[in-house]
């Protein structure tokens, strides 16, 4: 098992009547790229700022490299500068009155490195970030993507142990965002630095992370690999949040047939293991659009709209009260009013308790 890099113990952060972080416990291993994912106001940025030392939590403890850097009980607060971490702000926080070179050289100069070394390091990181030739320009003269890279360059030139990134891509346009995603991923793979990444964008989280931590109201809902989080959302909130394309939910009855129990989700029969469901007479069933199939043994639905997008086609269909979205191959054709027979890939569904919202299967 890899070494533990960051450990958060019983961390809380409250402002008068707002709880931003509610008793959080989290362990992050060396080399992880962990994403804190959640809607705005869920406490993910506060968590990041607490790790950085820019925010003082109300209670709890924080260890970096197995060293205690924050403890409310002990009143220990190690200043941000001594935590050996770097942060890329959402606003980039590039100093507008300094050139690109001066921005990147700032921390090195604070450390009183010799001039020649500063220059060498800055030029080398500029080269890595494909910013050669821009050193004498001012940040506001450059494009959003370039500014983003300066912010990253400013962080990595100091060789921090831990990279913290606060929604770094949210100010970029869609295309640039896709490019930067792969660049950030490469950067992480190259440097191996433990990275904590904050975003509300599910796709960003899925594509870059080794682990995702989904938060709501200051509480971690689920921690897992992107695959786990996508395939096995721990509760209804996660299932709804990791829902691109849109997750289908059914209020499903639990039925018995010849001693076997099964679930009726919008007419589709879902087989379950014996003994899985004891008392509930109905559950919430969640099925991803791509897990439906068109099959002769399926249940009849009526197409309400057909949205092709090249590689895939999205079909909306209904059956009485039940409305579903189905993701099919791009070659599939349909028209509103068509009757289709819908089935499900074996076992690719999740069941949730209606009352607690927790996963049953």
């Amino acid at each position: 098992m890899a070494r533990e890099k960051i450990r958060i113990v019983n961390l809380c952060k409250r402002w008068r009547d707002v709880t931003a972080i509610d008793n959080m416990n989290l362990s992050i291993e060396e080399g992880d790229f962990i994403t804190l994912l959640g809607p705005s106001g869920c406490g993910k940025t506060t968590t990041l700022r607490s790790i950085a030392g820019l925010e003082e939590p109300t209670s709890g403890e924080l260890y970096l490299n197995n060293k205690l850097v924050f403890s409310k009980k002990e009143e220990i607060v190690v200043s941000p500068a001594k935590r050996n971490l770097g942060l890329v702000f959402q606003s980039y926080a590039l100093w507008p009155h300094m050139t690109v070179f001066d921005n990147i050289a700032f921390g090195l100069r604070i450390k009183k490195l010799p001039k020649s070394e500063v220059k060498m390091k800055v030029l080398s990181v500029l080269k890595d970030m494909k910013l050669e030739g821009y050193e004498e320009r001012y940040p506001q003269e450059l494009s959003g993507g370039q500014q983003q890279r300066i912010a990253i360059a400013r962080m990595i030139v100091n060789r921090p142990d831990i990279y913290l990134m606060d929604e770094p891509l949210s100010n970029l346009d869609a295309k640039l965002r896709v490019d930067m995603r792969s660049e950030l991923k490469e950067l992480h793979q190259r440097s191996g630095a433990t990275t904590v990444y904050v975003t509300h964008d599910q796709v960003e989280a899925m594509t870059m992370s080794t682990k995702i931590s989904i938060m709501k109201d200051g509480v971690i809902q689920q921690i897992g690999t992107p695959e786990e989080v996508y395939r096995r959302p721990a509760n209804l909130f996660v299932a709804e949040f990791i829902s691109n394309p849109k997750m289908n939910f059914f209020n499903a009855e639990v039925l018995s047939e010849g001693g076997n129990r099964f679930i009726n989700a919008g007419g589709i029969k879902l087989n379950i293991k014996p003994g899985l469901i004891q008392n509930q007479s109905s559950v919430k069933a969640a099925i991803r659009p791509e897990d439906f199939i068109i099959t002769d043994s399926g249940i009849e639905y009526e197409v309400t709209s057909y949205l092709p997008s090249g590689s895939t086609s999205l079909v909306y269909a209904k059956r009485g009260e039940d409305k579903i979205a189905i993701m099919l191959d791009g070659s599939y054709k349909a028209e509103a009013g068509d009757k289709i027979k819908v089935g499900i890939k074996k076992g690719l569904f999740n069941l949730y308790d209606i009352e607690t919202g927790n996963k049953i299967f």
Partner: protein, 619 residues
């Protein structure tokens, strides 16, 4: 289990916490500022109350004391000053009439200045009038120069022979003495003040109008509202907070204004609260004066309070922001040129005539003779003891202002005072801004915010009176400062704290907290962050604030008139004395000197720094 990092582990947890919290830069700064504000804002205000409620040495001779055989022990509690002001034979003349006059002038001024200012602002910002930039630049000039030169110019033109001295242009040309109501009293006072204070409403109003996104109005039009409905239902409510701000600004200035009513009111015994306060102090009735000061502060305070109630935001008096949209303009059609001509005439009367008249009068040998043969440059550059063409000693033997040691030392005092005060006020402003913005929501921050706002409600003359009462004697470590240059700097800085702290706060707001945090993460200490990040980014705001303080202190009369001594005379108080003594040419020449210095200061700083005057005015 785990080792602890760094050296933050010495001492008990409680002590560590205390040291950590108190050693954050905003707390250290906030605490120092709090002490300063208590010393120079809060204590003086308390002292004012104390003085009003106690006997002083000069009270022994008051009839109310003598008749009743009371022993007026200095420092002993008494209500005699309140009795004298509110309930005695003096009440009518000492309080009720000045109060009435103050109210008449303030209401007249506020109404006129707001009307002119907002209409002008609307025309410049929202209509298709030609030469907008020129009009806007000229219209803001009164904001840079003092208010009372207009009053002096008025006297030069409309003075009649009722109070002695040479009559004005009007009488010289028409051979008829202008009626009293035109020469002195409320009508000229209101007109002269309005010709100055309209500029405040103009700056605030055009700032507000310029920030209204015209899409808001267009949406209204698309929904079928008429132009008038849009104006009434959308535009007006949007600028209403600014209009209220301008109202409060003008109103509070009106309550405290001193120079103009002194020049145009005192000669005919038309007293306002401010001139009454001044004359009480001069007549050794400081107890009574302080009661009047309390009344003035209450009136201003209550007005601001009502404004807060109506608008619902404490800071609504600063709604000036630099950002503007290209607003859609309304076509004035063929009226365009008529309105343009009217505006030009107005600006000539408001801005150029007073300066022209004063310049001319400063060149006259014999006061009241407006022929060209009467022109002399003596009052500017004459040697002491020069004779004129008729062999008469010029200016009673005094040298012209540019050769006159006394006046030059006054000019030096003025410039020194303005520079020092502006420097300290801006530094204080940025520090207050930093501690308020970075410590937002904390008690210390709130108290500093409130304290730094307090001098705003003290009219200049009352604030001067407070300092007079406070620093006439030593208080603990603070020596008796009366008669020193330091007290002038202190009072000017303290009076400007509301403005400079607002400028500082606004400047600090523009520095995204993350810019500082990024430096903190890289190991920059507070001083490095301040000098490398915060200062460079707030420089232009600081310079604007400095410029503003410089020109306001330079032209300040009411604040310092009670505090200067012959040794610490400044130009404005010299003007006041010369005019009181009937030396109009000197007064006018020095006035022009003050105007020249403030204008030059503005131009120089504008050259070096592309700052907008309207930035940071905030009242």
């Amino acid at each position: 289990m785990s080792e602890i990092m760094g050296s933050e582990t010495k001492g008990s947890p409680f002590l560590r916490r205390f040291i950590r919290v108190m050693s954050t830069p905003q707390k250290i700064m906030g605490s120092i500022l709090f002490i300063l504000l208590v010393l120079f804002v809060f204590f003086p205000a308390v002292n004012l109350l104390y003085t009003a409620f106690t006997f002083s040495f000069s009270d022994k001779v008051l009839p109310q004391v003598v008749d009743r055989g009371i022993k007026a022990v200095p420092g002993k509690f008494t209500l005699v000053h309140f009795e004298r002001v509110f309930d005695s034979g003096l009440t009518k003349n000492m309080f009720l009439i000045p109060l009435l006059h103050t109210i008449i002038i303030t209401i007249g001024l506020t109404f006129t200045a707001l009307t002119i200012g907002t209409i002008l602002a609307w025309i410049v910002v929202r209509s298709d009038i030609p030469a907008k930039k020129l009009i806007a630049n000229l219209a803001t000039i009164p904001y840079i120069i003092p208010a009372w030169p207009t009053a002096l110019a008025w006297l030069t033109v409309f003075k009649n022979n009722r109070v002695g001295g040479a009559p004005g242009w009007f009488q010289y040309i028409f051979h008829v003495a202008p009626p009293n109501w035109l020469s002195y009293g409320p009508v000229p006072i209101i007109i002269c003040l309005s010709l100055h204070y309209y500029a405040y409403a103009f700056i605030i109003g055009s700032g507000a109008l310029a920030t209204i996104d015209s899409r808001l109005e267009e949406t209204g039009e698309l929904l079928g509202a008429s132009k008038w409905q849009v104006m009434r239902k959308i535009t007006f409510p949007l600028v209403l907070p600014s209009i209220f701000s301008a109202f409060i600004l003008t109103f509070s200035r009106g309550i405290g204004v001193f120079g103009t009513p002194a020049f145009l009111g005192i000669p005919v015994r038309y007293f306002t609260l401010s001139t009454q306060l001044y004359s009480n102090i001069r007549n050794n009735l400081s107890g009574d004066a302080y009661v009047i000061a309390i009344v003035m502060i209450l009136i201003t305070g209550i007005t601001i309070y009502m404004n807060i109630k109506v608008i619902g935001a404490r800071k609504s008096f600063v709604t000036i922001s630099g950002k503007g949209f290209r607003a859609k303009t309304v076509s004035l059609g063929s009226m365009k040129y008529i309105i343009l001509i009217l505006i030009i005439i107005f600006l000539i009367i408001a801005v150029f005539m007073p300066l022209y008249v004063l310049t001319w009068q400063s060149l006259m040998d014999v006061d009241g003779n407006y022929s060209f043969s009467n022109i002399t440059f003596h009052f500017w550059i004459g040697k002491a003891g020069s004779l004129d063409s008729r062999g008469i000693l010029l200016a009673e033997g005094q040298a012209g202002i540019l050769r006159n040691k006394m006046i030059l030392s006054g000019a030096w005092n003025s410039i020194k005072l303005a520079l020092f005060s502006a420097f300290f006020a801006s530094v204080l402003g940025i520090l207050i801004g930093y501690s308020i913005v970075r410590d937002r929501g904390k008690i210390l921050s709130k108290m500093n915010d409130a304290l730094s706002f307090a001098p705003y409600i003290f009219p200049g003359i009352a604030f001067g009176a407070i300092y007079l009462s406070m620093f006439a004697k030593a208080h603990g470590p603070i020596p008796a400062l009366y008669g020193t240059f330091a007290i002038l700097v202190l009072v000017s800085v303290a009076k400007h704290v509301p403005y400079s702290s607002r400028t500082g706060t606004a400047a600090m707001m523009q520095v995204n907290r993350e810019l500082e945090e990024a430096a903190e993460l890289q190991g920059a200490g507070f001083l490095t962050r301040f000098s490398k990040i915060i200062f460079p980014l707030t420089k232009s705001g600081l310079v604007a604030g400095f410029m503003l303080s410089f020109i306001t202190v330079m032209r300040e009369l009411s604040l310092v008139v009670l505090l200067v001594t012959p040794k610490t005379k400044v130009l404005t108080t010299m003007i006041y004395n010369y005019v009181q003594l009937g030396f109009h040419q000197f007064g006018d020449a020095i006035t022009m000197l003050v105007v020249a210095i403030t204008l030059t200061g503005t131009v120089i700083i504008r050259r070096f720094q592309k700052t907008d005057l309207s930035k940071g005015i905030g009242g």
